[in-house]
Symmetry: C2
Subunit: 323 residues, 2 copies
């Protein structure tokens, strides 16, 4: 549930006066989302999303994120388009937070992923990568391989007791995995801007078709195929954490039809998937250990990604993913 | 923040197939609200609110609430209108909860109450009372005077230790107040259907005019002027808990222009306001004591209503409220 900054109607009206979107008609806080506060906003001109950036987002990076969304939208990717105020600025301040208005995207994210979602996802991901090619600014991936050992160290500051309370032996298992994965991390693979968090709740469908991609606030410049690995983790495991190779094959084939994967990218799929799994296992473990009991957020169990990680560690090649 | 039942897109599509509202376009959980789960829902036909009734609402009473809203809407009160399915039923089941779709009301509730809000509020409240006159079914007020002593007893089950932890002496202060207020509770005052929870977040304004009333799930058949007393408590105290008599006068005059208050109603204002203050003090105290630390709801401090109660106990007549 959302971290939640309360916005007064007076403050919002003053904020909207800087835009050409007409008068305020309604606004309601959105319950989904963890990182930022989101409001659905209706004005005389239509529906929008108002986002207030909470403390996990570095304000200095907001222009990069908004610029990427603007660039992608102009290249035909259906994603939230930042709305500029009359002075041309899309990034402003509201209720003590950096804030932006973006266009509203119709569509519904799939609560239960089916095989039919995976090919459109692969197509959209490849199109996203292609569309980002001529967006010049770069952003290092703050949650890339170089971040994993330090992040794990912070979670094991108590000698691993908290981690081992999640599951006995977890501290040692994660330490070994980080070492192994970072040591075999591929170099020289094609790079560009990646979404880096393309989970089902960030992908909308409408009438059976993919209708939009949202939430670009983990986007970064990194290995393209790593973005595929994030999706294989997030979309291709069943609720019992068995791997659905049919979904994976659909995703990979559809992606490859837009941007063919090289042999090196194919060969790297297992380690990239291991990396994606440990990235989410590590942030979830950190949040699990450090979220106060009374916090207004739901903690996610890190073991769901530790179990995915084990699957990928057992994969000996791209064939494990159906290709 | 809302108690929150997750609804899958598949389940929602199946649910919507029972209605003539066209295909699903988008839905998002609404962060506001405590008692029920609310979604903003967009279909090909427009905007709606989807409500899932959580456990505090007695399913047997839902037809009364929905019937009242339907009745009031047809009498010209702008309130959510329950939308019937093709079979004529407005009350259905979704995700294991009783659920209903209502119309979307444009407007924004005032985060900071100004004097200009209070006259429209009084007018709307009196109109609501008048419009409800020919809605025949009755509902006893489950949070009326007869409920206060038992509710307090449950909060003092530990001998008053938890209450006295909120503020030393609170247990005895509330026991005395309940006895005094119930003993002097007025009889014979005009009755009808009341909203009983008309706080600022349940009243929408648009372009400076009151545009709608929402959340009728505490409505009951009780003393009309008690509804005014709830509003005097909720709208006419400043954030430092001083009483703003100018706001009260605006509210009472506007109300009286639509439904004139009798001398008996005027004379009863202090005790009715005491009753309204203790009703909210008691439910907040109960929730304060019984809300587990990890719960996804924000507890409200009961002292805000204890301090209002003290003001009303010092009031010697209607003149304290500006009339």
């Amino acid at each position: 549930m959302a971290v939640y900054t309360e916005v007064s109607d007076d403050a919002l009206r003053a904020f909207l006066a800087e835009y050409d979107v007409g008068d305020l008609v309604a606004y309601r806080g959105i319950a989904e989302g963890v990182e930022n506060s989101n409001y659905s906003l209706k004005t005389a001109a239509g529906d929008y999303i108002l986002t207030l950036y909470e403390k996990r987002v570095d304000p200095a990076e907001l222009p990069w994120f908004l610029g990427l969304m603007q660039h992608l939208a102009h290249r035909g990717i259906v994603c939230p388009l930042p709305v500029a105020g009359r002075d041309g600025a899309a990034l402003r301040v509201l209720a003590g937070r950096h804030a932006a208005i973006t266009t509203f995207l119709p569509g519904v994210w799939p609560r239960r992923v089916g095989q039919e979602h995976c090919a459109p996802l692969g197509t959209a991901l490849a199109a996203l990568h292609r569309a980002g090619e001529d967006y010049a600014p770069v952003r290092a991936n703050a949650l890339g391989p170089q971040s994993w050992a330090p992040l794990l160290t912070r979670s094991l500051a108590d000698g691993g007791a908290a981690a081992d309370k999640v599951q006995p032996g977890l501290a040692a298992e994660l330490q070994n995995a980080v070492e192994t994965i970072v040591a075999s991390w591929p170099t020289g693979l094609p790079r560009g801007h990646i979404h880096a968090d393309l989970f089902p709740d960030n992908v909308f469908f409408l009438d059976g078709k993919l209708s939009g991609l949202i939430d670009f606030y983990f986007a970064a410049t990194d290995i393209w195929a790593y973005d595929i690995a994030v999706c294989l983790n997030a979309w291709c495991f069943e609720s019992d954490l068995t791997f659905n190779v049919t979904k994976a094959r659909a995703l990979l084939h559809a992606y490859g039809a837009v941007r063919p994967l090289s042999d090196a990218e194919m060969a790297a799929l297992p380690v990239l998937c291991q990396g994606a799994a440990i990235r989410f296992a590590l942030t979830r473990l950190f949040d699990w250990i450090n979220t106060p009991a009374g916090a207004l957020v739901t903690r996610k169990n890190p073991m769901e990604y530790v179990r995915r990680l084990r699957f990928h560690l057992s994969a000996t090649g791209a064939h494990a993913y159906g290709v």
